[in-house]
Subunit: 309 residues, 2 copies
């Protein structure tokens, strides 16, 4: 079983109330693949970087055994750059600068050796490009897609077409409301599931996440973290942990989707502890396992023996 | 083990986006005691009503075997009346009318037969009155208190004194932030626990609730209800279910506090299905048990057998 990750590989400039960094490795495909690499050893990356992309950053992927055959190096320009500043509450951010650079002409080409990928992770890029990736994959077991309000508003027709080919959609609560035109999240989920994805995950930030499958709803808690240092990449990291666990276990049952949501949440809770993907570079299996158990115990209700109703 | 409930017994006028009712039984002690009565058969009510209080409403308490020796009937005036209107999102409401009536001079007198109560539920009334109740109780096993921003802002010194004598405080997220002066709920909880209550429950509305004890944090899910008809009394109903389960089981361990939070949540989810306390008058043990199990399964993560990290 292999995981194919498509998305942006970028440099970010980040300012939070706790610090500032001018340039750090970023992008959705970066966070997803680095995270998934802790769970599974067959990771394939599709993306594009420019002539300024540092060898030391390429090495970060190689160190995690991530296959870079699908990472295009376009010497005609520079790597996608995003700069943003988070407000004090960390829930809102201002984009200060976006330079698409080589990403503007990105045309995902899937190498022959990637075409039998089992799990396809479509990071947040144009829905038409996400569809183009699927055109090139023979028969994936699971397609997981991330998107955002920008595409919901600006590329709705493309998005609708792509959604029909997706098994799992991962979005946040405001995106779910916008995509469905329905304020109530339960009704929103029903409408979105009818658009294609039989499984929907709605992330609610500090309030955890909801998993909707064909058979029911799972409510996952958020980790009551005292200090969030930098929220950048937390959503992509969630996706990486979710997909990584599914690949590792090879089990797409509802019970295991619940565990995957907890692994995704656990990985995201690490991500926000340091700048950019820094924390994702030095994790140990012991740490991941311990954080997973902390999440489990956070919402565990011991079965009672007597005095039942 | 007996449960003593102190609070308001009132009439409410309620308007929600789904309907309007001019006058219906209400008040914190009403919701708490009716709810607790499903769990335990020794309920004692302390409150005051006026000359207009209907025999048919007294009968509602008697039907649930609630002891009314402590319910004063003050013929000098009318029963406390509150009128409010909920906005479309049901999270906000406008108070249209408040007539304190006989409640203005309410002086809680605890009957001799109530003084050895095990669990004392102090509904949302002036902190000085809550303290006066505690002065009259010999040695309760557990004191549970509800309060609101009105008292946090207007009677802070009294509230601080009363909090020192409380085991469990139940408030919502904005009240927790205001009481502690701390936006982060985990830090807020630490500060509030240092004020007296070793156990703190922070209700987060549609996002569930957090339980903080001396040993850890429990995250309880909210029931993903598709249609809330009327939120009036949901908080008091939570308290009633929480206290009721503790009295029924006689177990104040951390594990059982978690179950009590789920019973409180389950009862609150019934409360909002109809106007005022209507739904609380016709529940069955089977319904309560089934709803509890639905809550359990909502956040249950089956233990995995293999592929562990």
């Amino acid at each position: 079983m292999s995981i194919l990750v498509v998305g942006s590989v970028a440099y970010d400039g980040i300012e939070t109330p706790f610090g500032k960094i001018d340039r750090i490795l970023g992008g959705s495909a970066t966070y997803i693949s680095l995270t998934s690499s802790y769970f599974h050893d067959s990771l394939q990356l599709v993306g594009v970087v420019g002539k300024d992309f540092a060898d030391s950053d390429l090495q970060r992927f190689k160190d995690k055994n991530i296959d870079l055959e699908g990472l295009q190096i376009d010497n005609s320009g520079k790597t996608f750059f995003w700069q943003g500043k988070y407000h004090f509450d960390l829930n809102n951010r201002d984009t200060l600068d976006t330079q698409l650079n080589v990403f503007e002409k990105f045309d995902p080409v899937i190498p022959e050796s990637y075409k039998d990928a089992s799990i396809v992770c479509l990071g947040n890029i144009a829905p038409a490009l996400q569809g183009k990736v699927l055109d090139q994959i023979s028969k994936p077991d699971l397609v997981i897609l991330d998107t955002m309000n920008f595409w919901i508003e600006g590329a709705r027709e493309d998005l609708n077409k792509t959604l029909e080919r997706v098994n799992v959609l991962i979005i946040n609560d405001s995106e779910a409301r916008e995509l469905s035109g329905e304020p109530n999240l339960v009704k929103a989920a029903e409408k979105i599931q009818a658009m294609g994805p039989s499984t929907l995950i709605i992330k609610k930030g500090e309030h955890g996440a909801l998993l909707f499958t064909e058979t029911g709803i799972f409510s996952a808690p958020a980790f009551p973290i005292i200090d969030i240092f930098d929220p950048t990449g937390a959503g992509d990291t969630f996706l990486g942990g979710f997909a990584g666990w599914l690949a590792r276990s090879g089990d797409f049952s509802d019970d295991n989707l619940r565990r995957a949501v907890i692994y995704g949440s656990a990985m995201a809770s690490f991500c926000v502890e340091k700048f950019g993907p820094e924390r994702l570079l030095d994790l140990s299996a012991t740490e991941i396992s311990a954080r997973y158990q902390e999440f489990r115990s956070l919402s565990a209700i011991p079965v009672q023996q007597d005095n039942v109703f």
